[in-house]
Amino acid sequence: MRFMLLFSRQGKLRLQKWYTATAERDKKKMVRELMQIVLARKPKMCSFLEWRDLKIVYKRYASLYFCCAIEEQDNELITLEVIHRFVELLDKYFGSVCELDIIFNFEKAYFILDEFLMGGEIQDTSKKSVLKAIEQADLLQEEDESPRSVLEEMGLA
């Protein structure tokens, strides 16, 4: 997989993950171009399209589009299920997930994605394994958290 994008129906990019080195300017251009193409497609159309030298696999979940760019010889259907598994993971972690969860906890969404995909390849397909890894990390996190004084919180706001 070359990259994965999450964007909303309004064309707001919610998450981007690049698995090959790409210049910032090219990234922006590619994102804009792809969003335009994907958003223009009608609901019943097929989930695959050719774009440049890549294959795009996308699926819409409510207001969010999940969009993966894969290479010529990669399997489209399994990529569709990569997307679905990712959504399941998000859903399981956040409870029933919504776009706002991803906006406000973007770093968590990245961590989950990282546990699931690495270098564009699937790391573990077991939902349990991935969530265990994330929960372990959360556990560590909770231990880290020391009680914070009200004053400190105020100073930060």
């Binding site: 989930s47 259907l77 699937i122 397909t125 990390a137």
Partner: protein
């Protein structure tokens, strides 16, 4: 509520309608997609009736109250507030303002005297990350992120790594510091930290990181005590480094142990390892050959397992679909297993997968069918890759045939795509053809353009002589309503098919004119150049073409491309229809001229040339045309080109005699035959990978219109400017055969072995009087030692010195095109004295050159060559002259070798291996292993292989150090496709060269020639 502080309590806010993804209840719903969409439209309906202001206000409120509580762990309150603020900004300006305020705040905190604690650093770094992801530039904070790496608090470290993997580019000067942090974590023996570090390396994947860690990661991967999750990360991390800097990932004893990970207990480890091994095996298949049996065994266990056996690795009742797909991919790096037992086990697996496709679904969910079919499609890809089991191929084709009518658009799309590759296999081509009606129907009824596009591709791939008329007709009718985005491609495809399968050229002309009429704007120059080339090269169609364009031009509005074709063809062949009073010269001229003023400058220029040709063809319209040329709008045209043409043509028509006019404006000679420029254009447009190769027939050699192809006129140049120049009558090319000073080929006879194979003839250089006595009498081949010491130096190059002694230097310049060649031989007198009675002749044909060569002077001789059939012996040039009284006799073998008649052929990896397999008969392959005679330099080898005449194919051989080439040898009677592969072994300083062609003699000769070069 308005203005209330966002609630950030730990309890979740479970307002209805907020959850937009899957809730557990929805996961169980039979048709989730529909539910989701219907729920969505409900939402939308609720919102629309309200006034805009009210809606915004409400949205604002929702925003504030709905800000989700962070479910677990951390609470970076400041971050949540900031994100909320940004979302509440009503305009872009407000957002920028808010961001700038925050940036200033963070900057001051970072610069402040008070040292920040880890939590604050984490929070600010996270805010910066958020700002960056919104699309704003971030130019500070990197140092703070790096500091977080060394924090002993997990969450701080984690945010540090996230920032770095998103924001740090490879050439940052911080890389050393980052590497330090990674190093500490890698050696920490804490699996969570190690995973973070490995993720970071994989995410950044820069060269510096590869340099620092590439040697360390393999040992983590194969160490016995490494945790499974770390193994998985290490495998994928190594994969990423291997992709970005393969040279830095050394192969070693770990490779064998990596292969054994395929046997691991933990399926997650196997999945990650399978990805790594596939990538490595693509590059060096030999090193990972042992993975074949392990992969087959694993696959077999998965496909035969009951669906629940694999527990969490079963996905919607499909056993380990990801792993299955990966194993099937891995097997595609190799040919079918040689071991019979293994091979039958694999065949069994593939059959089981095909059988499962016929079973009733275990679940109605789309995830079930997607996962199942993902494995099925990958299995079909492997079957196609092996291309060796006719039954499996036909079964695959039938399965895809079912999908062609499936209600899922995705499956129809994939079936069309997959069938394209099946169409090029000889075993399944016929089976694919049976689906023609379904595919045509798809073209007409599919609502999604990308599916229709696949249908066009498949029709193109399945086209052969038997169905070409139907397919071309269907494509033409589709063209009328086709989407603009794919029109040009369809035009190219129709043009290629019409040409390739034209038995009757009137059909071809009609088709192309139809193309121009229906999609004139999308008809590229190459297409209309091509129709003209073909009409010029084929006498039988010229009259029909003239009549047809004349009729087409009658239309009140016709496309400019039609005017171009019409102008050109009537200018050449208008006389063929001039007998009919309805298309008399004057009518023709008036018709063309009626279009003149609406056309662009290049078309007008072309029309002017057609007019001057008319003056030659039809003296009766001369005065009319001269008048037109003389008009101010021509002679004083603002465009220089038009003005010049008008002036010159007018002048020419006034002063030249009829004879001169007839010579200058003679009919165009036939164009030399070359690769179709349309085909080249389509390849360029589509990229070689996607295009099913039209030239299969030529390679297979089994019918399918190879005759038409080799007969048809081939395109001129690939670059259009020169094509344009060639086509304009003022710059007419002079094909060799039409030149009166040249001898026609094939007139000589001799007993020499290669005479019947090579037609050679010498000719004087045009205009020069160097050569006299063009056809002097017979000459017996000299029986002296033939010099061939430099012969082999010319295998991969065309120019240089072939012979040199104290007296004489013989240089050569040669050029080859298809089955024709021309050698310029330069004889240099190195002495200061004259050579007398100088003669130079080929051993099959005698021809004298200027008998005297002055001291220090150079004499030139031209040899024209035609390759009639494949050959081994080279012609010998005999030279005799008198130098100071003594008779000198020199014989030089002319470097005319079979490989000179190569036309390079580009092809994809898939095509290459397919053809390679097709040429699998033992006699077709010649292989040799030899010691390197020269230093083994990749660039030099590249240049040599290119010089040899084949196309060098990048990325075909899984091992990048190997060289793979392909080309077609052109002889007069036939064309021989050749594939070659050169495998250097640097350590042993040896090469292995393998050649496969359809002819044993050709394979042998090419192998002999090339193996001598390294």
């Amino acid at each position: 509520m308005c203005g209330a502080r966002p609630s950030l309590g730990r309890g979740r806010c479970t307002q209805r309608g907020r959850s937009l993804f899957l809730s557990p209840s929805h996961l169980g719903a039979p048709c989730r997609t529909q539910r989701l969409t219907s729920r969505l439209s409900e939402l939308r309906n609720k919102v629309t009736p309200r006034s805009r202001h009210a809606e915004e206000h409400a949205a604002h409120q929702r925003e504030r109250t709905n800000m989700p509580a962070v479910s677990k762990g951390d609470g970076m309150r400041g971050l949540a507030v900031f994100i909320s603020d940004i979302r509440n900004c009503k305009s872009k300006e407000a957002e920028v303002k808010r961001i700038n305020k925050e940036l200033a705040n963070i900057r001051s905190k970072f610069k402040g005297d008070k040292a920040l604690d880890g939590y604050s650093k984490k929070k600010y770094v996270c805010k910066l990350l958020f700002i960056f992801l919104l699309g704003h530039d971030i130019d500070f904070g990197h140092m703070e992120a790096v500091n977080l790496l060394s924090s002993n608090k997990y969450t701080e470290k984690q945010i540090g790594y996230l920032f770095i993997s998103v924001l740090v580019n490879s050439n940052s000067d911080l890389i050393r510091l980052i590497n330090n942090g990674i190093k500490n974590d890698l050696t920490s023996r804490n699996p969570t930290y190690m995973n973070l570090a490995l993720h970071c390396i994989a995410n950044v994947g820069s060269r510096e990181m590869a340099e620092a860690f590439a040697s360390q990661i393999p040992s983590i991967l194969v160490a016995g005590d490494t945790m499974d999750s770390v193994k998985q990360s290490a495998a994928l991390c190594l994969l990423r480094l291997n992709r970005t800097s393969p040279d830095l990932v050394p192969m070693g004893e770990w490779t064998a142990r990596v292969v054994h990970l395929l046997n691991d207990q933990h399926l997650g480890v196997v999945t990650a390892a399978a990805s790594l091994i596939t990538t490595l095996a693509q590059k060096s298949p030999e090193d990972f050959k042992t993975s074949i049996s392990l992969a087959v065994a694993r696959l077999s266990r998965i496909v035969t397992s009951a669906s629940i056996d694999l527990q969490d690795y079963t996905y919607y009742f499909v056993a380990a679909p990801w792993l299955s797909v990966k194993l099937l991919r891995l097997l595609q790096c190799y040919t079918p297993p040689e071991d019979a037992a293994l091979r039958s086990r694999l065949t069994e697996c593939l059959e089981t997968i095909l059988n499962k496709a016929q079973e009733p679904p275990k679940s109605k969910k789309v995830q079930h069918s997607n996962a199942k079919n993902a494995v099925l499609f990958e299995a079909i890809a492997l079957i196609i890759h092996h291309d060796s089991e006719p039954t499996l191929l036909v079964r695959a084709c039938n399965q895809l045939g079912q999908f062609l009518q499936h209600r899922e658009t995705n499956l129809r799309y994939l079936a069309l795509e997959s069938m394209c590759t099946l169409a090029s296999s000889e075993f399944s081509h016929e089976a694919v053809k049976t689906h023609i009606d379904t595919v045509i129907n798809a073209l007409k009824t599919e609502r999604d353009v990308s599916v229709r596009q696949r249908a066009v591709d498949l029709l193109y791939a399945m086209c052969d002589r038997s169905n070409s008329k139907q397919i071309v007709a269907e494509m033409l009718s589709y063209l009328e309503n086709a989407d603009y985005s794919i029109r040009e491609e369809i035009v190219l495809k129709v043009a290629i098919l019409a040409e390739k399968y034209a038995v009757d050229y009137t059909w071809y002309v009609d088709t192309i004119l139809n193309l121009i009429r229906m999609a004139g704007d999308h008809v590229s120059e190459e297409v209309w150049y091509r129709v003209i080339q073909i009409v010029i090269n084929r006498d039988e169609v010229q009259g029909y073409a003239a009549k047809t364009v004349f009729e087409a031009l009658q239309a009140p509005a016709c496309h400019e491309n039609l005017v171009k074709v019409g102008g050109y063809i009537l200018g050449e062949f208008g006389n063929l229809i001039a007998g009919d009073s309805r298309s008399s010269p004057l009518v023709q001229f008036d018709l063309l001229h009626s279009k003149f003023h609406l056309c662009s400058v290049p078309t007008r220029a072309l029309l002017l040339s057609a007019y001057i040709k008319f003056i030659n063809l039809f003296p009766e319209v001369k005065t009319t045309i001269q008048e037109v040329l003389r008009s101010d709008s021509q002679l004083r045209n603002a465009d220089v080109e038009l003005q010049q043409r008008a002036i010159e043509y007018l002048r020419l028509s006034c002063i030249a005699s009829t004879d001169i006019l007839a010579t200058v404006l003679e009919e165009m000679p036939p164009f030399p035959e070359r690769e179709s420029s349309i085909l080249a254009k389509l390849k360029k447009k589509k990229g070689p990978g996607i295009l099913p190769d039209i030239d299969d027939a030529r390679w297979n050699g089994n019918g399918n219109g190879s005759v038409e192809h080799s007969e048809s006129a081939e395109g001129l140049n690939k670059s259009s400017p020169s094509l344009m120049a060639d086509l304009l009558p003022t710059n007419r090319p002079r094909p060799a055969s039409s030149s009166p000073t040249m001898l026609s080929a094939g007139t000589m006879g001799s007993a020499h072995p290669f005479t019947d194979l090579l037609n050679l003839n010498s000719a004087p250089s045009a205009g020069a009087s160097l050569l006299v006595d063009v056809l002097s009498d017979g000459f017996s081949p000299a029986s002296l030692d033939v010099s061939d010491e430099n012969f082999s130096r010319f295998v991969c190059k065309n120019n240089g010195v072939i012979f040199e002694n104290q007296l004489l230097q013989i240089g050569l310049k040669s050029e080859y095109r298809q089955n024709l060649g021309r050698i310029y031989v330069f004889f240099g007198n190195k002495t200061s004295t004259q050579f007398l009675s100088f003669s130079s002749s080929l051993n099959i044909h005698a021809k004298a050159v200027d008998p005297t060569v002055e001291g220090g002077a150079q004499l030139q001789q031209i040899v024209n060559i035609e390759c009639v059939s494949d050959f081994t012996d080279a012609p010998v040039l005999d030279i005799q002259f008198r130098y100071g009284g003594a008779l000198q006799n020199i014989a030089v073998k002319l470097p005319v070798m079979l490989n000179k008649f190569f036309q390079p052929t580009e092809m994809t990896s898939q095509d290459f291996f397919q053809r390679w397999k097709q040429l699998g008969v033992p006699q077709q392959e010649v292989q040799t292993i030899f010691k390197a005679k020269h230093p083994m330099d990749t660039d030099v080898t590249n240049a040599k292989i290119l010089g040899f005449g084949v196309a060098l194919l990048d990325g075909v051989d899984p091992n990048p150090t190997n060289f793979v080439g392909s080309g077609v040898i052109h002889t007069k009677s036939t064309q021989v496709g050749c594939l070659l592969r050169l495998e250097p072994n640097g350590q042993a300083e040896m090469y292995r060269l393998t050649l496969r062609t359809s002819r044993e003699s050709v394979s042998q000769r090419l192998c002999d020639l090339l193996s001598d070069q390294f």
